[in-house]
């Protein structure tokens, strides 16, 4: 199997390209996705290759073009609307939550809604409070939606291809900081990655670190720092929030006895809370300390870089939480 290094954006673009070629019903729509190739370069060249009927530029009108896409999906197409800044997915909330997520159920299975909402998340670009948020938890809360949060180019491509073949609505979150900065090996050959299967990004025995999307990278860096102190950390990436691979999380914590959950979304009522509950229930008798949750601070994301980085998790904060969990344990 031959592989090459791709950026996160290139891996996304390749998945879109291959699936556009494979499925004539697939089409992309969104702001600047066409002639401009996407502000994050995820659709570069696709407009030229597949034409304006399959890579459609829309006005700044999330509710409009997402609603149009949901309707198209109900008639048998597979639309891929792109929400350039995931913050503004709020404008299309009714279309996604009340329409797309419900139709298959409310029609007794007669109408399917094969649609892949691509949206960005993540802070760290000094983009201010309205362009830095991570809203994946909202959608994981809604029955009828699948939520994907990849962390590497390999996972992004394999999971996006699965999403684009999925007969149900999928909300696919891409951390915008990773698009150009994160590179990784991607096979030349065709592959897909199933939903609901966590990936153990690093094996370890002393503590379980759960992280998703971009947070996997500072978490792996933290695991490296911990290894220098003789602490063996296991890093688990759930990759999809719904469906969630509870088994892998629980088994890891049964082995290590402790967990720190790292997410860029807010702690309060968030992904860290849900995952902590899953672990506390499934691995109760094996926990040696309370599960630690490290999410974004419960404040609007500041514009000023020093303040912004204070509010989101990083290597140092993860290491501190690990020390807290391991306090009083033998080294």
């Amino acid at each position: 199997m031959s592989t090459r290094e791709l950026t996160f954006a290139q891996a996304i673009r390749e998945a879109l390209d291959e699936e556009l070629a494979r499925d004539p019903n697939l089409f992309i729509l969104g702001e600047d996705v066409g002639a401009w190739g996407g502000v994050f370069r995820c659709t570069e060249g696709l407009y030229e290759k597949y034409g304006p009927d399959r890579v459609i530029d829309t006005p700044l009108s999330e509710e409009g073009f997402v609603g149009l896409a949901v309707g198209a999906a109900m008639t048998g197409m597979h639309p891929v609307p792109e929400i350039m800044f995931g913050d503004f997915i709020t404008l299309a909330m009714d279309q996604i939550v009340n329409q797309a997520a419900k139709m298959r159920y409310m029609t007794g299975g007669q109408v399917k809604v094969p649609i892949t909402f691509r949206a960005t998340m993540g802070a760290g670009r000094s983009s201010g409070a309205q362009h830095s948020q991570s809203w994946h938890a909202w959608f994981a809360h809604v029955p009828g939606l699948k939520v994907v949060v990849p962390s590497t180019p390999y996972d992004a491509k394999g999971l996006l291809k699965t999403a684009l073949r999925e007969p149900n609505p999928v909300v696919f979150f891409e951390d915008k900081v990773m698009y150009a900065k994160i590179k990784g090996p991607v096979p030349e050959e065709e592959y897909t990655i199933p939903f609901g299967k966590a990936d153990i990004k690093r094996e370890g025995s002393d503590i379980t670190l759960v992280a998703l999307s971009r947070m996997v990278h500072p978490t792996l860096a933290a695991a490296e720092m911990l290894a220098k102190e003789g602490i063996s950390a296991e890093v688990i990436d759930p990759r999809t929030l719904t469906p969630l691979d509870e088994e892998t999380l629980i088994q890891s914590v049964c082995k290590t006895g402790g967990a720190v959950i790292v997410d860029e979304g807010y702690n309060r009522f968030g992904v860290t809370a849900e995952l902590a509950a899953v672990i506390a229930y499934g691995a109760f008798d094996y926990l040696d300390a309370p599960v630690e949750r490290l999410g974004a601070m419960d404040v609007p994301i500041p514009f000023s870089p020093p303040l912004e980085f204070t509010t989101i998790p990083d290597e140092q904060k993860i290491v501190e939480r690990v020390h807290k969990v391991l306090e009083g344990r033998r080294r």
């Binding site: 006895g257 109760f284 008798d285 926990l287 040696d288 009083g328 344990r329 033998r330």
Partner: protein, 453 residues
Amino acid sequence: MAVEIVMPRMGLTMEEGTVVAWLKQENQTVAKGEPLLEIETDKSTVEIESPGEGVLSQILVKPGETVPVGAVIGYLTAPGEKPQSSTPEPTQAAAPASNYATDRSVSSAALKSDLSGAPAKVKASPAARRLARQYRVNLAEIVGTGPGGRVVAWNVREFASQAIDAQQAQLVRVSPVAQKVAADLSVDLSQVKGTGPGGWITRTDVERSAREAAVGATAMQPPLIGEKIALTRQQKIMAERMTSSFQGAPHFYLHVEVDARRLAALRDSLLKRAKERFGVHLTYSDFLVKYCALALRQHPKVLQQWAGDGLFQMRNINIGLAMDTPQGLVVPVIHDADQLSLAEISRRRAELSERAQAGKLLPQDLELGVFTITNLGMFGIDYFDAILNPPQAAILAVGRIKERALVEAGQVIAAPMMTLSLSVDHRVLDGATAAKFLGDLVEYLENPDFAQV
């Protein structure tokens, strides 16, 4: 408010105690620290002091009666307070009870509850609580090193291993000077025969032992024709455990030939499908684990363990599998094997085997086994007897499956046969009990369909 007087735990292994005599009568006043009653444990008779000042208002357990540790055996009330009755006490009666605040002396062991009547809650992590249940240690006796003094898992592991060391140390009664001389002369006290009162080891005993060892060493020194090889940790543990088992536990052995026709046919028929469906490679060891687990569930006595002055009844059916690794013999454990399907057992066995081969077994992989299977069939061994894996009371030695002559309905036919040998600790099990267990195991192996019933 009345204070409960409970049967105290006087030692790690004490599970119950007998009231020998009450030294005070009901309604008699007692001072704090005054002898209140005598109890008898499995080791000795002990006088229990009153946990506080007051009136012995009620005696619940009469002399000669035996109750579990922690059971309420009587009540103490404040002077002038009404004795314990079935109607709830008015809350203001609680005030004088503050006289009964306990100190940390032995007598406080008899006081189960604090003044509110609720048992003192020990701060411990769930993992520590689970281990404390498994090791049968009392969390309240353990000093926690976690945040706010929380007892964490390793505190329990440490405590349990120290408790075992202490128990073993107690078995060798030795005078302090003899202990020092033994250390100076590098004499192993467990090998010294004591001639003092009650087998007490004296200085003379140690010196004699050292002399004998020196003489013996000279006399038995073989001509130097080879070199000494240092022991690995695993070899050292194996040597120590096997010596203590073989010398300490009276072994007996039961042998039985098993007609393996149906077992072999079942394995053949499942092999491919199990691979495709569950991704597991079924081995005869997997079937043996499964059927041993089922048979052990029916014969919980086989799970008992000798503890010097009593038997421990183990509950969880955790089956160890002896494995040959580059580092030597290891016995990783498949926990709660009776709760697992054949495919789950096979997967777990494969995981353990892989980790064992890589020298990556975790401490918990090796803990809490209650029964061991050792299989040398793959080495072409027909049958053999195994040494017990202490403190377990039984170990099953499995030979290879081979075509042998079988007499069936008066005809001699060739059939795949397997010979089993069950080694048993005669302190725990007698021949008939062990034979019934082995009989049921053979029943499963010869009629695997029966395991579905």
